[in-house]
């Protein structure tokens, strides 16, 4: 038998608050997301449309340029439609970036069996998922609401003072539309990545979940002549939602408009399913082989 001296001293120093443990997960996840050159490339590409839209705002607000280059072309009127285009462009780019980043955050940990080690710390499964969610949300922010609001601010700065005040709803719409979309993308990306260990397949799954049901919804709408098929069509739902957020008249026929409540219920249901998927997959137990 051993002789127990009981001389082993436990750590008695001060502990950081629980929320700061989540920050460690966030930091690690952001580092992981940005460690790939492809990620940096995607971020750079995502700035190109912003640059183009910024030039558009410059041209639209510069009297000489308006006369010489645009010949007062109405395409370059800076209004809700213009910012809807900005929002749509950036939000679909965000889908591409989420499809690339989300699997890096979760699939790698699952493939490497890293969860038992991570979860044998005082960070819960909820804390782990929250950390990854915040990281993905933070990565998508510079692509969506941040450039949208910066362009809005630039337009406000470049145009006559009343434009900024009278179009504040656009800023609110840009913010709300972007936040809703990237929150949805983040939870969807994490949930799908937790079920697919292979990163490339997980990326494909994220795109498939957005676009395959859209096709099915289109068939339902066409065959049954009902607008409710669009409830499976994420692009249509989001476009209608963004139009309403920005106060832009909807281009679809009025009988195909979905109620905002129905859209929000579908998105909430989808998020609930994602949470259940994460709950089932993010487990600390070690997989025993052999």
């Amino acid at each position: 038998m051993s002789v127990y001296k009981h001389a082993y001293s436990a750590y008695t120093g001060r502990l950081t608050p629980l929320w700061s443990r989540v920050v460690v997960v966030v930091r690690y996840a952001v580092e992981e997301a940005l460690s790939s050159r492809i990620t940096i490339g995607l971020f750079t590409l995502s700035m190109l449309p912003v640059f183009v839209y910024m030039v558009g705002i410059y041209l639209a607000n510069n009297t000489l340029a308006r006369t010489l280059v645009l010949h007062r072309n109405p395409v370059f009127e800076i209004d809700a439609r213009y910012f809807l285009n900005v929002l749509e462009t950036q939000c679909w780019i965000a889908l591409g970036i989420a499809g690339w980043i989300a699997p890096r955050l979760v699939s790698f940990d699952l493939a490497d069996n890293a969860l038992p080690i991570l979860l044998s710390h005082p960070v819960s499964r909820f804390g782990y998922v929250l950390g990854k969610f915040i990281a993905l949300f933070a990565c998508l922010s510079p692509v969506t609401w941040l450039p949208c609001l910066l362009l809005f601010a630039y337009q406000g700065y470049s145009s006559a003072q009343p434009w900024f005040v009278t179009n504040l709803r656009i800023a609110g719409g840009l913010l709300a539309g972007s936040l809703l979309w990237i929150a949805f993308l983040s939870i969807l990306g994490l949930a799908l990545s937790s079920w697919v260990k292979w990163r490339v397949v997980a990326t494909g799954a994220i795109f498939a979940v957005v676009f395959v049901p859209a096709g099915i919804g289109g068939i339902i709408t066409g065959v049954l002549r009902t607008k409710w098929g669009f409830l499976l069509n994420v692009p249509v739902m989001m476009t209608q939602l963004w139009q309403r957020f920005l106060g832009e008249p909807e281009v679809m026929r009025a009988d195909l408009h979905l109620p905002t409540v129905a859209i929000l219920i579908v998105l909430t249901l989808a998020c609930a399913i994602c949470v259940m998927m994460l709950n089932a997959r993010i487990r600390g137990r070690e997989v025993v082989r052999g």
């Binding site: 038998m1 051993s2 002789v3 127990y4 001296k5 009981h6 001389a7 082993y8 001293s9 436990a10 750590y11 120093g13 001060r14 502990l15 950081t16 629980l18 700061s20 443990r21 460690v24 997960v25 690690y28 580092e31 992981e32 460690s35 790698f108 940990d109 490497d112 069996n113 890293a114 969860l115 038992p116 080690i117 991570l118 979860l119 044998s120 710390h121 005082p122 960070v123 819960s124 487990r283 600390g284 137990r285 070690e286 997989v287 025993v288 082989r289 052999g290």
Partner: protein, 316 residues
Amino acid sequence: MTAMNDAIIFENVSKFYGEVLGVNRVTLNIPPGVTTLVGPNGSGKTTLMNLMTGLVQPSSGHVSVLGLTHVDADRFFRQVGYCTQFDSFPRRLTGWQFLLDSLLLHGMSEGDALRLADEALQRVRLGNAASHRIESYSKGMRQKIRLAQAIAHHPHVLVLDEPLNGLDPMARAESLGLFQELSRLGMHLVISSHILDEVDRISDRVVLITGGYIVAEGDIHQVRREVRDKPMQVLIRCDQPELLASRMFTSNHCVEARLHADGKGVFLRTADVDEFYRLLNQIAVEGLVTIEAVAPADDDTLAIYQYLIGSDGSPS
């Protein structure tokens, strides 16, 4: 800490993964010291370890570690260090970053985390490799960094799943020395290992498990004595082994004799160890043979494993 909660306690614990049995009706009380979990692959060792590290919750029953449960996560995980069996590192981290992040996740301040990471690295003797990415580590170095992560936050309970796998003999000896040292300082070490002869040297008790059921537990010699249906084997070094064997066979509890390869000893199997030693004493006193040494030859973990579980993994 009271004596009562200075133990890892399983009270009638069962764990099912859907319809698959992990462990069934396990009742254990593990005091400080080195406890070895022994069993074939898929016997439930890792499930037991996951239960005591709070990574899985029992389907029924209750697990407490030093009086704490996973509900009190902050205090629970401060007391428990887990060294997993498989490579399970977040990617692209150096050994140093891995340790530092682990300590920050435990809630240490950055200053303390730096100090404790340094201390743990020195303890496992990883040296300069800590500044390299874990992907570039050899199997032995990965074991070391896993061990460093498990001990860095000064836990009282160290759960080590196959910690000797992949280590060369020198590193294995170093690790065993470290385990022994930690055990003497009053830590709980729960080790699962297939390298039974080496773990045997430092084990205070053994838990044999197969098919999710505990087959035996306790001090290894005590367990061996309780395996009454398997005659015990004793090695006796003496000058006249043949004569000793013939004399021992005059009593009917002696069931087998085998000469040692060097001809200077004999392995004897007896069904009644008390009677055996009484007779051996008598022979020694008579001076019939000169006995140099007497040692049990099969009261080690390996022998008990073979007797109780067998090579096919089913209880015999």
